[in-house]
Symmetry: C2
Subunit: 485 residues, 2 copies
């Protein structure tokens, strides 16, 4: 398999160079950009060093082992911040800090869920984020919906005393994760329809692409600030298959359910911030990072210990260069991402008046798989420089995508809204949703060589973004002026 | 991958013919055996029909869906017997019956298990078969043993008030399942050492070859009729990895534990028996089957719904021939296999005085994977006939093993002890122990084409074993006489 991987990388690299050249020919009006040979040498050195380094793996091993699962707002997440501060100090960062914020805290509690008709059989389920508890143990008949579309028109009161079950398809696998959005509706808003129908609870097929016997958790969406008043439980794909087969046989189903999930009031969380201060333009920030919190079912190895480890390791390799790059490189370990991008929103709010100092931002939050595509959304005048970085990255099997792809990861969304330009190193997500938000998100699922490829790409990209004399910020379309100071 | 599989089958087939010829050359004194062309045609027709049939898949789908999990001795296992009787009557069997027996019944109950030091984190565990309950909730320090070998010399009282944790290696994967025995010791007898040391509970690394976050259950061994007096819990491989890493960091570990597992007294179980009565020698029995019970965590698709389905479907295809074979073909759906071969022992006891009527026996109880090797243990004079059957099976990618391999599956052991000759169609068990005894043993794990290959092999083999005028029974080594009547 290794030789196949190498051939694939070679083919990608070839295709990349080929398309780069084609693009250059098609856009003769865009002036070319050349990296200095010293910059190229430094970036190449970072790539070579990163591919031989196990630093990122050591970081994610440390986080998942020494801290473990770390739900946003929990005591464990506090321990993760302490861990992040300690790590930042141990490594070569110039400034380390925690920026705290307040958030509402939801806890999963305990769950028992079983089929009780046509016979008794345990179901493998978990409460979805924001779910209410059962006030008393439930045992109720099931009303089966083939998909979320079938419950959208439900009449008020038509589900009174019943448990709604929303089936659906196993999430489509893809390199880009394109199946997630369509599958996710049953999880995010299914409860609003079940509740309107008067259901005592909602059970949904997990949003995930695997066939293992554990559920995928994830946050529901609130409706104008109001969360579900009923318990909402996801069951594993094999369990949902089982329910579907019984339903097709014409069996009357019932489910028993008890859950102690609940909102616990406001607690403290925070973002950990590690800076390498720029030697020439310290106020200009290239922001990278991942999120420090995880769901509580697994130990958050791929989501998102990997992202924290990749970006921290990349910054550390840059920190070990003889001199700092021109701009500041900031690693943010965002808090409370899973439960609503709370750390990201807090960061954007706390740094709103210096948003324009953020010259480029990106996050690693799509697992630990190989990076295969490099997208950007920068000032079009800066695109030739980004293309040059893309050419350098092609040796890692990474193709250049486009400059029209907005967004550098979930925690970057609030910064994008403030006009911060982004790049994105897209990881192969083909198997990501087999593990994402499940108990199976554990260290053993990370392939060290793939993690090292990530670090190599981030190190080269981030170094150059901080070093080059290139303005990535887009011009303000309303005024026609550049948003830079 | 399909082309690779086809090439593999071709290579196997070639190797088979090659070795067959070599063996024949090496044993010139054994007279050759020829199948009649009508017999060959019928067997070939069965293979062709079986490869196109979805009967076995329909049977295992029906069992796992309509009955579900079916622990030995449970109400669910009773429903499985009713299902088996109904199926036998619906299909073409001449006689269907249930032979009951009494057995002690153990129930898993509920379990909560968590790390509590160095921090709180849920462990994914399950009580092992025969485990005692916790009398009160436990929270105790952990004494870590790197392997079961490290606890064998434990001094009485040296674990008082402690929870013993027996680690070990992830079970070695192999086509033959050779890794199971060595890994299994920590599960079967670990408790005896922990108990002698005075431990309040034992936690062991699951016996299984996967890296998923669920435990593998399985029966412990009793010691002179006495079962464990302490709770014994298996945790998933990723959880055991986690404990190992924390231990290596020098952390003091503790675990909290509550379990309601317990022995419930004597209950009724039974074997379902489906006969195709032989047209010429009805008293002579070719016995095939699988076990009807399953562990309660999954729905017993590969262990052993598949075996029940394969052998029932094979017999049914034979039943649809214009006439019955000479001998009786008996499908036994054994009860209570997982909890100690109780159905098999009851069958051997109930049929002890007609044991010699059983001319050949085999069981399918190693999953639903492709059969790759055909072993036997029959009268050496019958071996050329078995070799001829082997040649026919080579078209299915099955190599001929040896005639010195005793045992036709777990439920055949008590019959072997009574002198019954056996054959064995060995399935590829490379991934079997990823699923075996876990919640993940569900219908979706069965590949219909592989199941059909199994039915084809069983149908041809069992038809010929029942049709040929060959004596498989071995001569009695003590008297020098044949054990046949």
């Amino acid at each position: 398999m290794k030789s196949i991987a190498i051939i694939s990388i070679a083919l990608f690299a070839y295709a990349n160079v080929f398309f780069q050249e084609s693009l250059a020919e098609e856009n003769p009006e865009v002036p070319a950009y050349s990296l200095k040979s010293s910059q190229l040498e430094t970036a190449q050195g970072l790539i070579d060093t990163a591919l031989e380094s196990d630093l990122a793996h050591k970081i994610v091993e440390s986080l998942t082992t020494e801290v473990g699962a770390r739900l946003g707002g929990s005591e464990a997440e506090k321990r993760a911040r302490d861990w992040g501060m300690k790590l930042g100090k141990k490594l070569s960062f110039d400034r380390v800090s925690v920026e705290e914020f307040t958030m509402p805290y939801w806890e999963r509690g305990k769950l028992n869920i079983s089929l009780t008709a046509p016979y008794e059989q345990k179901l493998y389920g978990t409460a979805l984020g924001g779910s209410a508890s059962t006030r008393e143990d439930l045992d109720a008949p099931v009303v089966y919906f083939r998909s979320v579309n079938d419950i959208l028109e439900i009449e008020p009161g038509s589900l009174t005393g019943k448990i709604a079950f929303i089936d659906g398809e196993i999430m489509v696998k893809s390199q880009t994760g394109a199946g997630y959005g369509p599958a996710n509706t049953r999880r995010t808003v299914g409860w609003q329809h079940a509740e309107r129908g008067g259901a005592v609870a909602l059970v949904v097929r997990s949003v995930g692409s695997d066939s293992h016997r554990f559920p995928h958790t994830g946050m529901m969406r609130h409706k104008e600030g109001t969360w579900a008043s009923i318990p909402v439980i996801a069951v594993s794909n094999p369990d949902a298959d089982h329910v579907r087969r019984l339903h097709r046989l014409g069996e009357k189903l019932s489910i028993s359910l008890s859950s102690t999930a609940e909102w616990k009031g406001d607690v403290s969380s925070g973002n950990v911030i590690l800076d390498l201060v720029g030697r020439d333009k310290p106020e200009e920030i290239v922001l990278i990072g991942g999120h420090l919190d995880s769901w509580d079912l697994g130990t958050g190895a791929i989501d998102d210990g990997a992202g924290v480890a990749i970006t921290t390791a990349a910054a550390e390799l840059i920190a070990r260069l003889p001199k700092r790059p021109r701009r500041t490189i900031r690693v943010v370990m965002f808090g409370a991402e899973e439960v609503g991008l709370l750390g990201a929103k807090a960061y954007a709010k706390q740094h709103a008046d210096e948003a324009e100092n953020h010259v480029l931002a990106t996050e690693s939050d799509f697992g630990a798989g190989t990076i295969w595509k490099f997208d950007s959304n920068v000032n079009s005048a800066a695109n030739p420089a980004i293309d040059e970085i893309g050419k350098l990255l092609s040796q890692l099997g990474i193709v250049r995508g486009g400059n029209d792809v907005k967004g550098g990861g979930p925690d970057i969304i609030p910064l994008v809204e403030l006009g911060v330009p982004t790049v994105r190193l897209n990881q192969n997500g083909m198997d990501y949703f087999d593990l994402h938000h499940t108990p199976d998100d554990t260290l053993d699922k990370i392939i060290p060589e793939e993690l090292a490829q990530n670090v190599a790409a981030y190190a080269a990209l981030v170094y150059l973004a901080a070093e080059l004399d290139v303005e990535f910020r887009t011009s303000d379309k309303e005024t026609g002026e550049t948003t830079s100071k």
